[in-house]
Symmetry: C2
């Protein structure tokens, strides 16, 4: 929790890619990752934390890179038997992945905070950097759609992100507080990085925590670099419904739209080379706009982008 | 729940073998199986019912016959990952088997009784006869040993049944009540059969239910056959610690010792051909002692024994 480190705000897949790059470049004690817990939900009596799990599997080199979620070398005996029994089968849980949810739930029921459980399980898998759940309380993201409000996993998995979005109710409508560990990671960081995650459903839930958005503004205004990496590249998202959500909310998905969402808190927005033409409109918002390849296909891409971002500090 | 059927009291492996024989011979509506729940326990936040599961897997032809417990075609992804995470790994849970515990626990948390859950899950796997948990409440068998009291699974799995037994505290010391379904199955049965299960830890927990032992005596005294199949063959048990327990409690393991334990409730004790020499001592207790091969190696053995036992009715 000492000062001078890098604090990284992350959602799932896209955010986890850069997290791996940062983890490969920085000493573990210099990296704290604040993870969105807005997607977390209870299923089959188990607490499931998709973004934390994606970070844990990615950083421990256990992620299924081809699939984009879950673990590598996974099997489906549990789901096969669950279907035989006529149980709920809309949310896939691999046999190995299931151990994470069962052990997390067991530890939480025994009284441990999600922060403590996450530290223990990430540690067991050999992860050095801290993965900090944004809060230890329940802060579900509710997707407001033309068909009414929908719980996040219902929207994302069951409805395959199809219904048009009209807005978001973060933290289930009752703003939550960051953990002491999250506060500490933002006390005197050398730099804050916002990952190339969905601004609406991965980053906003973190920024919505009591005092957190103000804290980032104060850091930036005090000269600490607060650097976002754009999740929009060439007018589209690399993965997931980010661009679709911008459109449904009446905004053209662009780096400028991203810059406008973060203009009160960031000093830099890192643009992909495909968006070099937008440097002027971003800098006009008072935000520096360094340009570099941001699409991370290989581990080398992740390390290269991490180095580029860190060089801004 | 209609009268005139066969009601069978069963523990796990040995009892389940004869249950399969009975299920192959009888119309499903004529067979009710009362299952011991004294071995049930909570593990990893899941309700695990070993004897019910053994009955369900056996009757649905999913049991791992070579191993004697668990499911066939099982995989160990969950346990492998659990070990990686440093979680509790002393009790093996196969990936497919885990679905049973997760779905049972989910249904019980939603308010269903164990009896209802068991009916639904057994039905989903195509099982016709009723499998009735002896009680819907918690009735743990505590093994009293020279090293002090031990929870059943701790004794059986963790300690491998090694400590010498000094006694048993059934139902955790607070006698429980049978379910309405168990009462109904004993209202006007054509016959009651007690399986070749461990008398101390599989059958006694059932007999210890409020009113049940008296009910069997009343049935027998009213002319209804109450037939036990001896779990002791040639002075030893086919499987498990039955003979060891007899010895530790100061009794020579024999069919006569079994007959003495059941003398107040049974009309017949079925002996294996190896014990034909003991017919006289058993009948001297006022118990008929038919002799037939009772060791069930094949499915044909199970059917043959079922027919022999049913012929006593």
């Amino acid at each position: 929790m000492s000062g001078g480190g890098i604090t990284y705000l992350s959602g799932g897949v896209g955010g986890a890619k850069l997290a791996l790059g940062l983890a490969r470049v920085l000493p573990p004690e210099d990296l704290a990752i604040i993870a969105n817990t807005g997607d977390d939900f209870d299923h089959l009596g188990l607490r499931i934390c998709p973004d934390i799990d994606t970070l844990v599997y990615t950083l421990s080199e256990r992620a299924n890179l081809a699939q984009g979620w879950g673990r590598q070398d996974e099997s489906d005996g549990f789901m096969t038997a669950m279907r035989e029994l006529g149980g709920p089968d809309w949310f896939f849980l691999g046999d190995r992945d299931l151990a994470m949810h069962v052990e997390r739930t067991r530890r939480m029921r025994s009284g441990e905070r999600l922060t403590e459980v996450t530290a223990a399980l990430a540690g067991a898998l050999g992860i050095g950097p801290r993965i900090l759940p944004m809060t230890d309380t329940v802060a579900p993201t509710i997707i407001e759609t033309v068909d009414g409000p929908v719980a996040f996993q219902d929207y994302f998995v069951r409805l395959r992100a199809a219904p048009a979005v009209t807005g978001f109710t973060l933290h289930g409508g009752a703003p939550q507080t960051p953990t002491a560990e999250v506060f500490a990671a933002l006390e005197e960081p050398a730099m804050v990085i916002i990952g190339p995650s969905n601004p609406f459903i991965s980053i906003d839930p973190i920024l919505h925590l009591g005092g957190l958005r103000d804290r980032l503004r104060t850091l930036r205004d005090g000269g600490i670099p607060v650097v976002a990496v754009s999740p929009i590249v060439g007018g589209d998202a690399i993965k997931g419904p980010t661009a679709k959500m911008f459109r449904e909310l009446g905004t053209d998905p662009s780096v400028t739209a991203v810059a406008e969402r973060y203009s009160d808190i960031v000093s830099h927005l890192v643009l992909d080379t495909a968006d070099a033409g937008a440097v002027g409109t971003v800098t006009a918002l008072g935000i520096q706009a360094p340009v570099t390849p941001t699409v991370m296909r290989s581990v080398e891409d992740r390390i290269a982008l991490a180095r580029q971002v860190l060089a801004l500090g």
